[in-house]
Symmetry: C2
Subunit: 474 residues, 2 copies
């Protein structure tokens, strides 16, 4: 794990390494400009709220942050600075938060228990609103559960306000908390790129959403709070049969897997796919999506204990990367390699994936999880991952008939139509019963550290979620 | 043009440059191993021949060579050394061959005139068989028209022998003649990766071809001769309506364009495509294939004089790269860029294409025509192209949501099924009238230099072909 961590701001070191190995900034190193953020004043709860969760506990915790995600303008996130200024840092729970063994994860089956009863809706109109906030880059102690006074929802034109019922946790959140993520916003900020909830107010010009609608949201950041205002364009109506947990688990993972497999990977009948971290959120989505295409062979890496579940989820050949070299294992079954490698690892694993490709094969790199080896930034891991970073020339590709692709949902801001079209197809697949998000565990905001450990220590099978409740008022 | 050429064997220099900029040979620099070649003795014509062209002239000329192409084992090519040993170098035509102005190209409409009349079939059984042979790397003087004694066809198991009626000329032939092509066979050799003709003998175990069948051939090299023996698996039956010229113009260009657009580029309705050298063989094929998908916008580069024809061939926005920057021109119409860039140029143009990509866009590099600036190798062009060669890291791809792909039909040897499936689809499109190879000009073997100049000087619109006749016996 973290054999060499720095307590100082090694973001600079990270960026220096990046420049050193990625070359000078330029068209190839393009970064999206940070968006200007407007300020939205804190507001009390409105009495017309229909489906408020009753959870507004004052319990503290620690939370990570991320800024992946899709679509435009998120003035909803503008409350971040307010949060920083007004928040009462209720408690820090910092003692040992970084290394303590997590409490037992609640089972997915228990998720419904965590949902606040509707009877309580609107009963806590005067209670402060809680948010998870990143206050610095580092270990688990850098996330805080804070609260701000409630105020009436005041969505601007084209916006809506919702009560959040569930939020997704993504691997990028772990990287962002450590500061090893590009395009991080100024501190402090509220992370969370996806979630689901109930509309409690709509702004001017919003005609396709109304109070009471159940929606899921895909946004750059800011979902990890009880109430949030977002552009209506960033929301999608939930099918009647879909739970809030499923909705909070769908967007980031399934859009990512879908675009990698179909838009970049060009998955077709008869193809073979290597899915790393096959028991993670994207991995589980990929297994299910591969089943929607005839005669696709799926190899998936995961700990041995998860293999049975993987087989049920579409993985024909689970590989325990702890005890076997996945390259060897794939080649035993398919000596010519595979058609698509989904690579969330980065570093030397991208090259391994590239060398596993059949002619016309594609490796799609969509993460750098090798950067994250422990609760804090590990400079050795950074350096190793960067030095081993895959690089390829046009001539090498020409000689091998291969493709190398990158995917980062966070950099698809502005591609509203592209994303929306994929969501439409995903909802159709959901309604047909062809895909169904698997929930690993659901954690209240107070246990965000345990949620993060669940993911970082790769204990999860499927999605790790955060919910505002139920450990309220305790 | 060629400001700095070397007369010594600068293949070594070329390869040194390659190593310098491509890194050490290894998995990323994988090259297919040369195939062992069996020796097939020269043979007289068989009396049972049904559709022999009557052309077996002794006229000399100069010809280039190539070794692109698909599929397995080509023992037919084994005659190369025989050719070298037995050939009579009938004439050299070297004087001024490199720089003389080419004669007026025969028009495509005249192609049928060049076909030997069937009445003469079998009448020249004792005539020697002519072949175009590369005798060294360099200018036009390195190709010779040679002949060998005729002998009865003796196809081995799984092979068939055909009388060649037309052969395709490809840009890679120009590169091979100059020695700037990877995987060149030992000198001397007969080039030609595609052609069409009539089966005159079948070997043991060949049940799906018979004497008299009209077939087209895709092979690594060796088609530029009057009679050739090839594996039956490398042949495809021609539709009844297809001429030999169309058949000789179809395979390399249309398979290349198809795989780039559909297998790597993932062309879909609404996409936009930039096609370089849009009036060339692959470019013309791409224009027609793009029309088979709804609402595809095609940008194509070519000299202004070809623009009207390009518009008829599916290019909405022809761009004269002599007078305008194609990047600017594309951005005027489509500020966000395009979804697919087909890049046969290499060097700095690959990076330009990369930077023109929309999110999820793909640049497919399938050639290095920037290496070829004149009739002989140009070391400055080699160096410039190599130094400017596009290189990209996983992180850069991750940040931009883009893909970089390489395509080289010559390295798909062994991928019989992959290629065959594409040919089946192409023939269906041909039969539906959706694609039709456009023949630029048809040249007898004797005028191979003129044919090569036609292509190298980018005068062609569509395919440049070689035929054994009709300037026979003169």
């Amino acid at each position: 794990m973290s054999s060499c961590t720095l307590s100082s701001d090694d973001t600079l070191l990270f960026r220096a390494l990046q420049k050193l190995t990625c070359g000078t900034p330029g068209p190839l190193n393009r970064r999206a400009k940070p968006r200007p953020r407007s300020r939205v004043p804190p507001r009390p709860l409105e009495s017309t709220v229909r489906t408020l969760p009753d959870a507004r506990p004052a319990l503290p915790s620690c939370a990570p942050s991320v800024q992946l995600c899709a679509q435009v303008g998120n003035p909803a996130m503008s409350a971040e600075k307010e949060v920083a200024e007004l928040a009462t840092s209720v408690a820090a729970a910092e003692a040992g938060a970084g290394e303590d063994a997590p409490s037992q994860p609640p089972k997915a089956e228990a998720a419904s228990d965590l949902q606040p009863p509707k009877a309580s809706e609107g009963s806590a109109a005067a209670s402060p609103l809680r948010s998870l906030v990143i206050t610095g880059f580092g270990g688990y102690d850098k996330v805080k559960l804070q609260s701000r006074p409630a105020a009436p929802p005041a969505p601007g034109p084209g916006q809506l306000t919702l009560r959040v019922r569930a939020c997704g946790l993504n691997f990028a959140d772990l990287m962002a908390r450590q500061g090893v993520y590009d395009r991080l916003p100024p501190l402090p900020f509220t992370p969370g790129m996806e979630g689901a909830g109930v509309v409690i107010a709509v702004g001017e010009g919003v005609s396709d959403r109304k109070v009471g609608d159940r929606v899921m949201v895909l946004i750059r950041l800011g979902m990890w709070q009880e109430e949030v205002t977002v552009p209506s364009a960033n929301t999608f109506l939930m099918p009647d049969a879909m739970t809030f947990e499923e909705a909070a688990a769908l967007l980031v993972n399934y859009i990512t897997a879908y675009m990698i497999l179909f838009d970049l990977g060009n998955l077709r009948p008869g193809h073979s796919v290597l899915v790393h971290m096959a028991a993670g959120g994207v991995g589980m989505a990929a297994g299910q999506l591969c089943r929607t295409v005839e005669n696709v062979t799926v190899f998936g890496t995961a700990s041995a204990g998860k293999h049975e579940m993987l087989k049920e989820n579409g993985v024909m050949y689970p590989i325990d990367y702890h005890t076997a070299d996945y390259v060897d294992e794939v080649k035993k079954i398919s000596p010519k390699g595979v058609d698509i490698v989904m690579d969330p690892l980065g570093g030397s694993d991208t090259a391994k994936g590239y060398n596993l490709l059949k002619p016309l094969g594609k490796v799609v790199t969509y993460g750098m999880s090798n950067l994250v080896t422990g609760p804090k930034r590990n400079l050795m891991a950074l350096a190793r991952t960067w030095w081993n970073q895959f690089s390829v020339t046009a001539m090498q590709l020409l000689q091998t008939n291969r493709a190398v692709c990158g995917f980062n949902l966070g950099n698809l801001e502005g591609e509203v139509e592209l994303v929306r079209n994929v969501v439409v197809r995903l909802l159709a697949l959901y309604n047909q019963g062809q895909i169904k998000p698997r929930i690993d565990s659901v954690w209240p905001f107070e246990k965000v550290v345990d949620a993060m450990k669940q993911m970082q220590e790769k204990k999860n099978v499927g999605k790790v979620l955060l919910v505002p409740g139920p450990e309220k008022e305790n």
